[in-house]
Structure formats: structure tokens, C-alpha cells
């Protein structure tokens, strides 16, 4: 339900406060980006879709798109499965524990991605902690290398992006009255029913923003795959980087960048639309 506003946004002078941010973003970010992306649509004879036709004609490029989407989906899924219960624990913890947990979640964000990726290289090695642990509990017969595998990439990336899943869900859970679940219970609803019919729809907005954050960051990550899996596994990001940095092919670079942008925006917008539809129909 939309609250009635006295002033239309155009007449409200408070809107003027956004002008510096708007100027900054438009002049220094949006315009250069548009100019860069526009290059993919300009050929020697004017406007063209040739680069896109060429791109999708090559099966290797399909592989790259699939790699990009697959890794991003896995990272998002792992973050969601780990982050959702963690957000509940965080929101329902006592004050002191909550602060400790928030620090533990937020502080690692100040460590650069490069440093964390190198740290994961150590963890994922054949003699790394994960390998030793899995051998130790008997799940693996002998040490294996996770570094430079897709599993290793998903593990490392999910760790780095996890806070961006936990925090939006936490901020929503914190606002949910715990008595709603009690009310559900006194109306005869069993625990699973209460979760599905009360908690899930109410946390959906947090899940949607967490998924949007993590997916858009992991679909476009560059440093992490470079360090954890290397050149043999190309994503749209690494391909874009190679096109600009090594191949000096600006048109290919801007083409892959546009495709990446379209995919990321498409998945994020599409999934939140779907989630809202599902949410309103329960």
C-alpha cells in the first residue's frame, strides 16, 4: 500500500540532496560506461550487431557464459544455505554475542579480496586444511587438491561474499516479531508449517536482496577466479579482462561486458520478480 505524499518527488526540495551523487555517478561512471559499452554496437559501417553474432557463433563462448552463470549460481546457493540460518542466529542472539558475530562478519570485509584469495590458495592446496580434514575423518582416501577446481572456486568465493547474504537477511529477520511464530503455534501450526507460511514470506525481501548482491558480485568477479582457478576456466569477466588487457580487442571486451551486464541484471530482476510473485501467492 502506497502512503499518500503531500509533495510529488519533483516538487520536494529534499530530492535536491541527491544531486551531487547523481552528478558524480552520471559524469564519472554512467557516461564512460555507456561509451565503452556502445563500442560493441559500432562497426566500420556504423551500427551493427556483428560482434554479438560472432560471439555466439563460437561454442567456446557458450562455454564461457555457462561457466559464468554456473559458478555464480553455485556461489549464491552456498551463501544462501549457509547465510540464511546464520542470519537467524545473529538476529536472535543476545546483545553481546550479536556484536561479536557482527564484528566477525564485517571485519573480514576490510581484508582485501586479493589477500583472501591467496589465503584460500593455502587452504585449498593438496596439503591444505580441507584436504587434511576430509582425509582425517575418512571421507577421502588420500589428499586431493581443491585449488584450481570449480569446487575450490565456489568455496572461496562463497566465503568472500557470505556477508552480503547474511546482512540483508539479518536486517529483515531482526524486524520480525518473534511472537508471530508463537501466534502461529497457538493456531495449531506445526514448526515446518510456521516456517513456510510465516517466516519464509516475511524474510523473502531480505533473501531477494542477499541473492541479488551475491549473484551480481559473483557473476562479475575477476580477481577470485584468476587466483583460485586460473586461465583454463574462463568467465565473462576474465574474458572481458583478457580482451582489454592482453588481446587489445576493445570491441570483444565491450561485447562480453554488455552480455555480462545483461545476464546479471536479467537474473537479478527476474529472480526478484519471481520471488515477489511467489511471496504474494502464499
Amino acid at each position: 500500500m502506497k502512503p499518500a505524499t503531500a509533495l510529488s518527488p519533483w516538487r520536494d526540495p529534499v530530492v535536491l540532496l541527491a544531486v551531487p551523487a547523481l552528478l558524480y555517478l552520471v559524469l564519472l561512471y554512467a557516461l564512460p560506461l555507456l561509451w565503452l559499452l556502445a563500442k560493441s554496437f559500432v562497426g566500420p559501417d556504423g551500427l551493427t550487431l556483428r560482434p554479438y553474432v560472432d560471439f555466439f557463433a563460437d561454442p567456446f563462448n557458450w562455454r564461457v557464459v555457462w561457466n559464468t552463470l554456473g559458478i555464480a549460481l553455485w556461489v549464491t546457493l552456498v551463501c544462501l544455505v549457509i547465510g540464511y540460518p546464520a542470519a537467524f542466529a545473529l538476529a536472535r542472539a543476545g546483545a553481546a554475542l550479536q556484536i561479536a558475530m557482527l564484528v566477525a562478519i564485517i571485519l573480514p570485509l576490510s581484508v582485501g579480496v586479493v589477500v583472501k584469495s591467496f589465503a584460500w590458495q593455502i587452504v585449498l592446496r593438496r596439503d591444505g586444511v580441507i584436504s587434511q580434514f576430509l582425509v582425517g575423518i575418512g571421507l577421502w582416501d588420500e589428499p586431493q587438491r581443491l585449488l584450481f577446481t570449480e569446487t575450490g572456486l565456489v568455496l572461496g568465493a562463497a566465503n568472500i561474499f557470505l556477508p552480503f547474504m547474511i546482512l540483508p537477511i539479518y536486517s529483515v529477520v531482526k524486524l520480525i516479531d518473534p511472537r508471530l511464530l508463537e501466534a502461529g503455534a497457538t493456531l495449531g501450526a506445526a514448526p515446518l508449517y510456521r516456517f513456510v507460511k510465516i517466516m519464509l514470506p516475511l524474510t523473502l525481501p531480505g533473501v531477494v536482496s542477499g541473492v541479488a548482491f551475491v549473484f551480481s558480485m559473483s557473476v562479475s568477479m575477476y580477481v577470485i577466479p584468476s587466483l583460485l582457478i586460473g586461465d583454463r576456466f574462463q568467465t565473462l569477466s576474465t574474458l572481458t579482462g583478457r580482451s582489454f588487457l592482453f588481446m587489445r580487442n576493445e570491441q570483444l571486451g565491450s561485447t562480453t561486458a554488455v552480455i555480462l551486464l545483461a545476464l546479471a541484471v536479467g537474473v537479478v530482476v527476474g529472480s526478484s520478480w519471481l520471488a515477489r510473485r511467489l511471496g504474494s501467492s502464499t
Binding site: M1, E182, A183, L202
Partner: protein, 356 residues
């Protein structure tokens, strides 16, 4: 209390502590089928804890809860058949009014037809039929409270618990809704336990009131009996107004205790040994001005408060004592402060307690 027939709700020896703090110290409570019982007491007296224990939202350390002959002490809340109207209503914000009312019915897997009919009926009962498809967020406090009542009643629980459901409403609305809710529950024959700290609310609505203090029920009786014969000094103080004089027993004779007070020797029914410190009390409307009852005393008026249908007279006393009279009958008009007045009352109206 002696129950001749087994109670519909039967709480026996309920104990609950949080850490070192004992919140309930072995509470017994029996509620008959169709009865409306209030748990009345100050905040922290354990009334909400007792309600949550009956609902199954909190476990007991010791004791049992039986409902309709069945021991439900160990049952989780969703298998108890006990409805709750929460203090903040706890309506589901993502659902409409009708969906809120339908929630319990759906959880019980009732048929679509049955759900539709029950939702219609209960929204009619709380006069919210026109609001069925509204979001609960768009409702006023009073309307939200009615949705909460309809939602809890729609599944036809064996027992309805109400946790201060009127506390967020303004006075006028509250009084109208108290009468409405009482009538609705009586028509449906719903057994109800109502938690409140508001004595007027408890007196208005209840068949019986349990006056609670420090994790124990001090008195469980009809509103009239609690008002006329408070069992303890706490019940006297918490329900209604009273004149209270500290005194010392001079001994008991023929069921009457002679008490030495700041206003001289007074007499009250009871039994106290000589020398025991006592508290003597009278309800203010039982004291007559210039028309002595069984005995009379003289007091100097400190303050007169005009309250429309009656006048409240406060008299000068020793610190700790309180002497007040409520009367509708002052032929000479409201007297000026400082006036000496003769007050009297019947021995039978005098209440006597051990000094608190």
C-alpha cells in the same frame, strides 16, 4: 477454593524460575468450562508467565497443566487447542484480514468450504466483514485487536487466553470493546483466561478473578467477593480504594478484635492475639458522614475531590495511615478543608489483616 467438580482447566503446583528468580512458586488454578477468569496483578507478578505456561509457549519446572481431563503439560503449543490473543496482537503482516483469520483453519487442514464459512462468520462476529481483503497493516488498533480475537476463535479452541488485549487502546474504545468481547465469548461459550493489571477491567469482565502477587495467587473469587472481602492486605490494596489504619490488637473477644489506632479504639471481626500489629481497613463508600454506625470517630478534612456523581473526602491522618470517604450524599454541599467531621461505619464492614 474447593472445587466440587473437576475443573476444565486445571493447573496444579506450577513452578517456574528464570535463573535465581522464582517467577511462579507453585500455583494452582482451576477454571470451569465456559468461565471467564482474570489473572490480575502488578507487572512481574507472574501472570503472563502463567498464561504462557498454559499456552505451552513456556515449560514448567514442576507441576501439571490439564485441559478437559487431558494432561497437556508436555504437549507443544500447536497440539494444545489453546488460542491466544497477544498483547500486540501479533497479526501476520503479509496476510490480509481474511487470510489472518483463515490461518489456523488452514493449518488444521479444514476444507475450503469450511474455511470460507468460518472466516465469514467470525469476521461478522467482530464486525469486520467489510475489511476482509484489507491488509492488516491498514487497520486501526481496535480493528487489529478484533482480527486477533477472530483469528484465535475461528479454530474453536477449547480455551482462549488473552494477554492484556486492551492495553494499547484508548479508554473510551477499551470500555466499549470490553463489553463487546465479553458478550461474544459468552455467546460462544468460550472458556477464557484473561491477563490484566487493570483492576477495573478485571472487575467488569470476569466471572472470577485470581489476584496474583509475587508468583502466587493470593485470592481466587468473584469480583464482588474480592472487593467486599479481600483475603489479604495485597488484594485489598490492589483492588479498589480503602481507608487503612495501622493498629495493635488488644485481644479477641467473641470473634471481635479490639484494635488501638490513631483514632482510638476500633472493633473488627477476626482473631488476633493481644499485642499483634494489625491493619484495619474499610472501603470508602462504607463510611458514613455524620450518621454514626456501630462506632464513630472525629477527623479533620484535608481535601475534598468532587467527582460528579460522588465526592471523595480525604482526612488528616498519621503518616502511613489513610482515611478516605466516598459519598454521594452531602446535603450541606462539599465542606471546606479543615472542617471537623464525624465518621462512622458498621463493624461488619471492617476488614482486618496482619500488618504487612
Amino acid at each position: 477454593m474447593v472445587h466440587l467438580q473437576p475443573s476444565f482447566l486445571d493447573v496444579a503446583g506450577a513452578e517456574k524460575s528464570f535463573g535465581a528468580a522464582t517467577v511462579l512458586g507453585g500455583v494452582d488454578l482451576g477454571v470451569a468450562q465456559g468461565e471467564f477468569v482474570s489473572l490480575l496483578g502488578p507487572s512481574g507478578c507472574g501472570k503472563t508467565t502463567l498464561l504462557r505456561i498454559v499456552a505451552g509457549l513456556l515449560g514448567v519446572d514442576r507441576g501439571t497443566v490439564k485441559l478437559d481431563g487431558k494432561d497437556i503439560t508436555a504437549l507443544p503449543p500447536h497440539r494444545r487447542d489453546v488460542g491466544v490473543v497477544f498483547q500486540n496482537y501479533a497479526l501476520f503482516p503479509h496476510l490480509t484480514v481474511a487470510e489472518n483469520v483463515a490461518f489456523g483453519l488452514k493449518a488444521h487442514r479444514r476444507s475450503a468450504t469450511e474455511i470460507r464459512e468460518a472466516v465469514k462468520r467470525f469476521l461478522e462476529l467482530v464486525h469486520l466483514s467489510d475489511f476482509a481483503d484489507r491488509s492488516v497493516r491498514a487497520l486501526s488498533g481496535g480493528q487489529q485487536q478484533r482480527v486477533a480475537v477472530a483469528r484465535a476463535l475461528a479454530v474453536r479452541p477449547k480455551l482462549l487466553l488473552l494477554d492484556e488485549p486492551f492495553s494499547a487502546l484508548d479508554r473510551k474504545l477499551r470500555e466499549a470493546m470490553q463489553i463487546d468481547l465479553r458478550r461474544l465469548l459468552r455467546e460462544l461459550g468460550t472458556t477464557s483466561v484473561f491477563v490484566t493489571h487493570d483492576q477495573e477491567e478485571a472487575l467488569t469482565m470476569s466471572d472470577r478473578i485470581a489476584v496474583m502477587n509475587r508468583g502466587a495467587i493470593e485470592q481466587l473469587d468473584t469480583p464482588e467477593a474480592i472487593y467486599r472481602r479481600p483475603a489479604t492486605a495485597f488484594a485489598l490494596e490492589f483492588v479498589g480504594l480503602s481507608s487503612r489504619l495501622a493498629g495493635t490488637s488488644l485481644g479477641t473477644e467473641n470473634g471481635l478484635v479490639h484494635v488501638e489506632t490513631a483514632f482510638g479504639r476500633l472493633v473488627a471481626p477476626g482473631s488476633f492475639i493481644k499485642g499483634a500489629p494489625v491493619l484495619l481497613a474499610v472501603r470508602p463508600e462504607r463510611i458514613k458522614v455524620d450518621a454514626p454506625g456501630d462506632f464513630a470517630l472525629t477527623a479533620r478534612l484535608r481535601d475534598a475531590v468532587f467527582q460528579g456523581s460522588k465526592v471523595q473526602l480525604h482526612f488528616e491522618t498519621r503518616a502511613g495511615d489513610q482515611l478516605m470517604v466516598e459519598t454521594a450524599d452531602l446535603p450541606q454541599g462539599v465542606p471546606a478543608p479543615g472542617t471537623e467531621m464525624k465518621l462512622g461505619w458498621a463493624v461488619a464492614d471492617t476488614l482486618l489483616y496482619p500488618a504487612p
